[in-house]
């Protein structure tokens, strides 16, 4: 890609301190460790992994809502360029209007005591982006229409709305400040499938209309497959594999990616295959295994995997994988 990425991270790490002993080094939880990705402007970038894999923390670090311990993160939308770890004061405030977040639970994310109009207008007022009430109302009406909310809706309170409608209100609130970059954290996970499709279609059409860039965090690979251009797979704070969506789904190279794919329940009642089921659960990040973080659950782990942590290797066409044995496994066609 010759295009300048909108967001570029190099070795991004987020560590949280644990309560330690008096002597010796303070223990830390490595929630995100050494993650390097580029997000191209105008793209849908998917981030998948199980609970506890660090997806949310990574998304928040890009918004400067989680502390960046190490690494470089740059934001460049053509107008301004920010070095995120160093942002502060007025520039940080300015960045917040350019980067926004859509939450998972539309029932918890909206204040029950504010009207929909006030909810959507709040970012404008807090950031001082408009000069008059008329201008605020104008902006609110404009974005509400894009999210298919009518004037009647704006006067009501959130309790009067269904899950899908509430999520459209959340989206309107995130977009009212005209951001360039939006982190959607499990934004459809709490919705019924019938409504989920509607919200996904809305996000896609708004993205194209407003030229937005999305970081789409989800544990649902089939949703990610449909909406994203590129996908990154995380496990215990590390990047396991990144690739263009089609490439990742047709030729997954990491055993973890493969396991996630085979865990999706097939819609075909005849196809009740056992597949490659992952055993066990994600280890605690306070006590990660040595070597490759996935070795405790990996069916292909060898001695080397238990000792040495693999580096993310570039294997072509924007495809990167972090596995000692990917070449062997690909050659043996163990991973289809």
């Amino acid at each position: 890609m010759t295009e300048t990425p909108l967001i570029s991270t190099k070795g991004l790490s987020v560590h949280y301190p644990l309560r330690g002993t008096l002597i010796g080094p303070k223990p830390v939880v490595r929630a995100v460790e050494n993650v390097s990705i580029d997000i191209a402007p105008g793209s849908f970038f998917g981030l998948v992994g199980e609970s506890g894999s660090g997806k949310t923390t990574f998304g928040r670090a890009l918004l400067r809502a989680a502390p960046i311990t190490r690494g470089d993160v740059t934001y460049d939308d053509g107008e301004v360029r920010y070095d995120l770890p160093k942002l502060e004061g007025r520039e940080l405030k300015e960045y917040r209007s350019r980067a926004q977040l859509i939450f998972q639970d539309p029932y918890a994310a909206l204040s029950p005591r504010m009207t929909v109009r006030d909810i959507i207008a709040e970012p404008l007022e807090v950031m001082g982006l408009t000069n008059s009430r008329e201008e605020t109302d104008e902006r609110v009406r404009e974005i509400a229409a894009k999210c298919r909310l009518n004037l009647e809706h704006l006067r009501r309170f959130p309790h009067a709305f269904s899950g899908g409608q509430r999520q459209r209100i959340s989206i309107a609130r995130a977009l009212v400040s005209r951001p360039r970059f939006v982190v959607a954290d499990e934004s459809v996970a709490a919705l019924d499938v019938s409504i989920q499709a509607d919200v996904l279609n809305l996000l896609k059409s708004i993205q194209q209309e407003m030229g937005l860039t999305f970081l789409f965090i989800s544990h649902d690979l089939s949703v990610v497959a449909h909406i994203c251009d590129n996908v990154a797979v995380m496990y215990l704070g590390r990047l396991m594999e990144t690739a263009p969506t089609r490439e990742l789904f047709s030729a997954p190279r990491h055993p973890y990616t493969q396991a996630l794919l085979s865990a999706i329940p097939s819609l075909d009642p005849e196809d009740r295959r056992g597949g490659q089921k992952l055993l066990g659960e994600i280890p605690s990040p306070t006590n990660p295994p040595p070597g490759c973080k996935f070795q405790t659950r990996c069916p292909f782990a060898q001695d080397r995997c238990r000792k040495e942590e693999p580096e993310l290797a570039h294997i072509g066409k924007g495809h990167n994988v972090s596995c000692h044995r990917w070449e062997e496994l690909a050659a043996e066609k163990v991973l289809a």
Binding site: S162, L267, E270, R272, L278
Partner: protein, 333 residues
Amino acid sequence: MSRLIDVENLTLQFDTDEGRITAVDDVSFSLEAGEVMGLVGESGSGKSVTAKSLMKLNAGNAIYGERTKITLHLKGGPIDVMGLKSARDMQVVRGGAISMIFQEPMASFAPAISIGNQMVEQLQIHTDMSKKKAREVSIEMLDRVGISDASKRFSQYAFELSGGMRQRAMIAMALSTKPKLLIADEPTTALDVTIQAQVIDLMKDLVAEFGMGIIFITHDLGVIAQTADKVAVMYLGRIVEQGPVRDVIRSPAHPYTKGLLAALPHLDDLDAPLIPVPGDIPSPLERPTGCVFNTRCSVAIEGRCQRELPRFTQIDATHRVACHLFTKESVSA
């Protein structure tokens, strides 16, 4: 196979401050021992209250329809569930013949009592086991559902277990009384796909081993395809289509079932557009007349679907649908 439960004309209304609302409307189904039935539908379609009715577990303001008949076929003879009045009589059914697994495993365990003590308590209520025996059985069940170090886990509390572990413990607890019928209300919705796959496998093994019937409530048709033998699709308290899982998923008849399937992302065709079911499920206070689905149906027949309630039409011996587009003549033609 032997018949386990018959539900006939289940109708359930709730008295609320805003008026009387209908949650379940004339639902009938039956289940054999060792059979898994999936109950699918959006939030608000009445899946959970239907399942809870089998134990009369709904809140005090619930009013059951006069024609409602629920018969549980046990070894000692049939039990008329609607006829059971006192909580004491209900014990035969609640936790005895029928156990339930809830969606949120964190919320369904008491936080201040150890997992083991909760398991022992219910065994002592429903069986005549001694405390020592109940403890042994509980540890054995924990082990059976794949919890390592079961005797240590036995004395731990819910917060010390991960989500997947808690759901396993919940299953162990529900099965330790050897129920004839297990109601699983969205048991995997709160779990990661990898853990969901493990729990589904576990439940399949247990059906084979214990031979109980399962009612599996979920909004995920993929989970249904993987677990159920037959399926009932619910919308606004009515069953709109029911039949063997293969027939319903491969050749859905009702526009709502078709809509649910079209809204699902398919991994084998990434370019296929996702087609949402238009609109939202109406509030139970504004229940549509005629076919309950007519307000969101793209193929509704003007005038007819708004006024006339569709009856079931048999597509074949086991697959039936309630839609005006299907009549006896159109099916046989």
